[in-house]
Subunit: 286 residues, 4 copies
């Protein structure tokens, strides 16, 4: 994929005949080469329609801004589309929030440092000072913002100011609950990794819960954060086989491997504009 020439369009609209034809003809007529096209409708007729288009821009006859207004008038208005246009060259800026467990954060930083995550890292923000050295070693700014029950409002305000310039937030095992106001400021732009196979084991200490229940598989879930704790739209899940021989400690160790992989996949899909929200569910185009 050529980063300099690749653009992506995500569309949601009421389903009716002619959408693919209208969209693909629009882009063809303006000189774009469509290199990927995925679509999904919730039902054969009269459902909701979703499309992801990836196209190459070098031979287009429209500038970025004119492309948007022209598409709106020529196609989107006609079909009642909600849409979002992105250019791969505009790398998204990620801010990572973390508490004391470093595994999920390190996996992201490590993949980013070897060009396996197409993004910039804005900063790492933690309610503990422990991981400062590990973060700064990657040349990434680290901010320690203490968080107590009393200080939440003030702490969140500090975090918000540090997030200026970021495009999205990844909670890589951030163990504080963010306020509804904070979450509302980043609609569908906060991804969390929860260390269980949701909806099983919401809330605190899911590995202890899994141990007590005696499950034979443990899981991890990456999801968008909404005001309802652990209830936001699921992006990706993974599981690992365990047995009666596993104690809470070994479940945690196995689970951390899962968390790293599941979170890294979810963040990459978000960065590649593969995810469309549909109510409390996600459409993920592969």
């Amino acid at each position: 994929m050529n980063v300099q020439t690749t653009a992506r369009l995500l569309i949601t609209c009421p389903d009716r005949p002619g959408i693919v034809s209208a969209v693909s003809s629009f882009f063809y007529n303006h000189g774009a080469n469509i290199t990927a096209l995925d679509q999904y409708a919730t039902q054969p007729e009269h459902g909701t329609y979703f499309m992801r288009l990836e196209f190459q821009t070098p031979h287009m006859d429209l500038s970025r801004h004119v492309l948007s207004t022209t598409f709106q008038e020529a196609v989107a208005d006609r079909y009642g589309m909600t849409w979002q246009l992105s250019f791969a060259a505009d790398r998204k800026r990620i801010a990572i929030m973390v508490s004391r467990h470093d595994h999920a954060m390190l996996e992201l930083l490590w993949r980013w440092s070897r060009q396996a995550l197409p993004c910039d890292i804005h900063a790492v923000i933690s309610n503990h000072p422990d991981l400062a050295d590990e973060v700064e070693r990657f040349g990434v700014p680290f901010h320690h913002v203490p968080f107590t029950a009393d200080s939440r409002e003030q702490s969140e305000a500090t975090v918000q100011s540090l997030l200026q310039g970021a495009d999205m937030v990844v909670l890589a095992r951030y163990m504080q609950i963010l306020s509804p106001a904070f979450v509302a400021a980043w609609p569908h732009r906060i991804i969390n990794i929860h260390h269980s196979f949701l909806p099983a084991f919401v809330g605190a200490n899911p590995y202890q819960q899994a141990y007590d229940k005696g499950v034979k598989l443990i899981g991890a879930t990456a999801h968008y954060v909404t005001a309802d704790l652990d209830q936001g739209p699921i992006i990706e899940q993974g599981v690992s086989r365990v047995s009666h021989r596993d104690d809470v400690e070994s479940l945690r160790a196995l689970g951390q491997d899962l968390e790293r992989q599941v979170l890294a996949r979810a963040v990459r899909w978000h960065l590649e504009d593969r995810i469309i929200l549909h109510g409390n569910k996600t459409i993920v185009f592969g």
Copy 2:
């Protein structure tokens, strides 16, 4: 494995030094050849200890009955053991209860018919008449026992009389809830397949629940039945990857493949005396 000569011993007791030595020496001294030995303790010291022993009987100097009483006096009493001795030659008799979905039941009958499940099939009992032909084709008796809210007591009495001679019951998608009295009559001898990844999606219509939640993996869980619905000790679980493209119908189709495999493994492990109960959890020796 030679069915005629293989015996198995399952032991639970307080952990303390010397148990392996005492048990293995007892069997060696009486002419048994130990062909498998698994053990597990809940903690390094002072926990609960579990052992599964598989041994060959041809050169033993004790008859079955004398073996039991001698082991009790020579070893079990000393260590406070709960134990259970089984002989592979005594094939367990399974009764299958089913409603309308045939997939889980057929998988068991098919494996049984090709000698892949070491058991006899006592009968199939259903609250619907639909599957009679399919069952009788295998040479297995089929009993239709209608079940309504009003008739439960009477129906369960009928079922209980039909179960005379069975060693265990498998609920292969039996959609009625059994009374606590019924369950209590078959302690840890009823295995159910639930069509979700428990503890997620207990109760009715888990595929609809999974669809509504937008999970990215669906599961199936085989467990022993206790008085608490869908809460008994988990024996085995499996999952299958799904996507936004799956509707409830396709989740059900994928899930039925999972149910077949998960239930067949759980029943086989029970038949091979691989499972020991520990509170509401299972020890499964591989």
Copy 3:
């Protein structure tokens, strides 16, 4: 999916701008509603382009035959397309060839009997008489065609005449090697299940080979049959974890479960027109 109204188009052609637009506009303008569209190009520019289109026919203004000729003239000729049009209402007729192992064949018959495979079963042909009863129980014709090294030519001629009217052949553990001439008569219309993770363990007795090698995973592979034994285009593969405790017998038992699942998926994808050949590889649209 409505079987009566669903049609599918598979396209292969040199990649160049405008294909999606041309195809989707053609169908839109003739009253078809596109309900699925997948595309793939081997490289961003100047590669080979593949498309699968699923559309609904009720409001089309062209009959079947006219649709084909019109599409050829209006679109296919212009882009140099190879294409294939299918109607879901034309159920494909499958002939199954099998030797003595019944598991793969039974899985297909069982899924077919519960409407989980959208096809008709033309017949089962075997070089052994053993499975006649099992097959006829499903109401499917069974033909015993003995096969010896000396009789191959004659036997294959008999099989060919029995296959008159079938659309494809599934080798569900058929242990004879078909002649190049036979294979050539069914180009990309014979699917075989090989009991290993190809290209590992080609040829005879792959479970013995896997045991001797000491692998930690065993596999199964469904592929189209070509003149080169076990070398045809791979459609689907699966694996199962094993350990040093598994002997050849238990590898076989685990492997048969894999074979059933992998073959059933591959056959279903073929029936749903999801597979396009590309040299010795397959494009499988999900």
Copy 4:
């Protein structure tokens, strides 16, 4: 597990009755508490027998040296045992050899740095200078030993001198072939990660081979190194699902995740004395 008190015994011998009894009684009589016991025999009678014993030493009445000689005389001689005794407190020293790809090496260093691999890191040796900074950041010595076809003898001599004091060698994507003499100096103490599902795709560039073949799953294999390239005893394998959309680059990216996990598991099992060689195969006790 208490590292200070845990010891492990690995035994191989001809199978005959009485081994478990003799071994467990020996340890019990000398004050050891057996905390894990696994056994395996290649056949029910007259095969080869393997045992792994984990025991706690605090109350033993024998010192380390006397334990060895006493066990030899009292038990091992009688049963013709080959055996190996290890103490968890004696952390093994690993030397890592690597070329340019850092992913497998980093995974080991990262797990080691967070106490998830029970070992010391002796050094990292590379035929390229590229990874010096990354290694030294962990406080681990890095040695650059250039390797050319002409210099192999000299280079291997240099490496051998740098390995003085190491207990084992891990080839974490070391792209040079070691000489038979080198390999013979480290019998079953060199672990390699091969980036394919062996025995498929031996030799160079397995991701290209997998792409050309069109497989639907890619794999990684950790194995002991022997004089035959890519043919040593397999310790662990893993696979990941791929599709026609994956090019060689994306196969490599997916494969590197697999390599990291598979190698880390294999090395941990070796460090925990879970592996016994049996001809060209491994027994891995879980």
